[in-house]
Amino acid sequence: MTARMRKSTFAICLLLIVSLVSACSSGGTKGNTDADKATNNGAAATSGASPATEAPSAKKVSITWWNFPTYQALDGEVGKYEKEIIAAFNEKHPEITVNLEMITFEGGPEKLNVAIASNSTPDLIYDAPGRIIDWGKKGLLAPLDDMIPSEIRNDIAEAFWKQSMVGDKTYMYPINTAPFMMAVNTTIFEKIGAMELLPLDRPDRTWSFEEYKAALQAVKDKATDVIPSVFFAKSQAGDQGTRAFIANLGLTTFLNDDNSAVAINTEEAGAALDWIAQASKDKLVISGAAALAAADVNDLFLQGKVAFTINYSAVLKAQNATLKKAEFNEVLLPFPTLDGSPPKLEPYLGGMAIFDNDDADRIAASKTFIDFVANDPVYGSKNLIQTGGLSVRNSITGLYNDPEYEYSELARQFIANPPTTADGWAEVRTHWFPALQRVLLGDATGKAALDDFAEAANQSIANGKAAQK
């Protein structure tokens, strides 16, 4: 009896063990294939009503909108502003119900992946090209070309369209932008009497590596309780900062012009990485960068504990306004370049996309909503201001009465082709921060780490390209 009991207890325990692990690892179900989706996309595009050309249908439609905290929280309540948009939209389109679900930058991407894998995607998403174009390439989105009249298409720079399209189809409706830059706490420089070391007397604020190093040294010498600058390599988040920082110090770009191969593995970029590793030891750059995330170093910046942060923009400045723990003045700066030449900045680009959920009515209603968010006479500019970003439209300028926004407008001239639309981009990113960690931890020289990164990343790009076929 005891033996039987033991055997059954043992069997139940084993089943539970296997269940526990497998329940954690199961990814959900998948129904449609890419081929099905691709076919459906075409159908949806042709059957979806164009809000620019057709009157809204009286048919009641319910759509779901998942939103990252794209808009600054109203009265400190995340999602309150989005509800205000929906209320205003419903005054014009009472037949369309918009169900809002707020997602976070931390958990949202994973939630979206699970939703895609389990065929439970929302109708609408406000996101950036990195993810949207990947979904577009995988045939998960509805094309938006029929809702973009020529006057709008011609009013937006080609660089933005390039990031919003796959082939000749538009999958993201671009709305707001801002170049990613670095930022400096000028209050520290005022205190140590070193304002002249910053390039603020130049209208375009461009500066050289040597000038940057002199500024860091001044902070180290005169403001001993402040960390001169930051770096981070814990994870993918905010990696546009590390990419652009090294690429500019190395006078190169992250990928080549057509995003088909890595270009950052130059001698100069390798030397820049070596300098960062050494500067960390010399206390010019924060120590422990291998275990710090972008959010960690920006938190320190907002606490007034570091002089420079390398992952900032007008949008982040606006979003961080309520998170500042110390009184100080922050100013946007372009990344320094090895020789002081104009930098190449990656743009933040935000826009909306529609998941193809095989329902022409929902796709049409989603397009109507996007049109309202981007182009409504009242809410179009109001929404832009609430993002803290600039308009992608050339004709819409001067939204803010703020010198930093004026500078952001000016810095748009430095925006270069971003790598985020490359094939296999999600996998390319996974190779980047371990490469940085290797250099920071003395495991490899900058050039060797970048060469190894290039080899792995080029393979990922090739794999991504092959997966499209």
Binding site: I17, S19, V21, C24, S25, S26, K234, A291, A293, D443
Partner: protein, 298 residues
Amino acid sequence: MLVTLLKSRRLVWREWLVSYLFLLPALSFFLLFVAYPMLKGIYISFFDFTLNKFAFVGLDNYAALFQDKYFKKSMMNTLLIVLIAVPLVIAFSLFVANTIYRKSELVRSFFRGVFYLPAVSSVVSITVVWASIYDPNFGILNYLTSFFGAEPIAWLGQPDTALYAIIAVLITTSVGQPIILYVASLGNIPASYIEAAQIDRASSGQIFRKIIWPMLMPTNLYIIVITTINTFQTFAIVQLLTAGGPLYSTSTVMYGVYEKAFMLGSFGIASAMGMILAVVIGVISIIQFKYLGSDVEY
């Protein structure tokens, strides 16, 4: 006679039916949320399942994992964490329980509460606190070691220290339940056994080895098996403190599952990783049952 037999069978049938009806709610949940995902996980592990693809690949996912140096590294890290953390959790819990179980109820309750607190606290909150303790620039740990002339250390930023820093956090969150169970089990050992041994001039070590340890075997078995399973599935602490870095030095299999499935959308590979981990845990559990369960009297 026949009527009595039929009545008896009807009673047995009714009892059987009622028993299963009572089991039905729990069984339904088990089948829906545990057994079904488990079987689905096994099924998916044989497919190339990504965001836009679902194609049968047989054992390719498993073959790819055995060639994957990062998976091997994650498995080794996981085994190392288990080998270090589980014995330390057991030893520390037993030491604390043995120290406090004969104290007054008030003292026992205080220590049980203190050590159980991390078990009922949010792992995210605990990890945030530890992140600030380990902070290389402003952390209290470096501040304390500076009194001994030590240079600041990036505890989570160095491959040599990061895994041990993770294990330390893991131990603090794992000892609560074992301490409670050991205190209860120690309290159930009849005092007369120990008194008799003391009269026979048995040393403390002999009493522990010959009386206390054997009497604790059922509790030991449970704690060791459960702690081993939980430790094999270390994820949240790693994700929050190091994201598997630096240089994959803290990457665990469960973190790899998360990374592959939820960050890269490779659900087939992730399921295969989960299955391999399940097999490893299953084998180790069999060994634990075989060697630790032989003397257990239920």
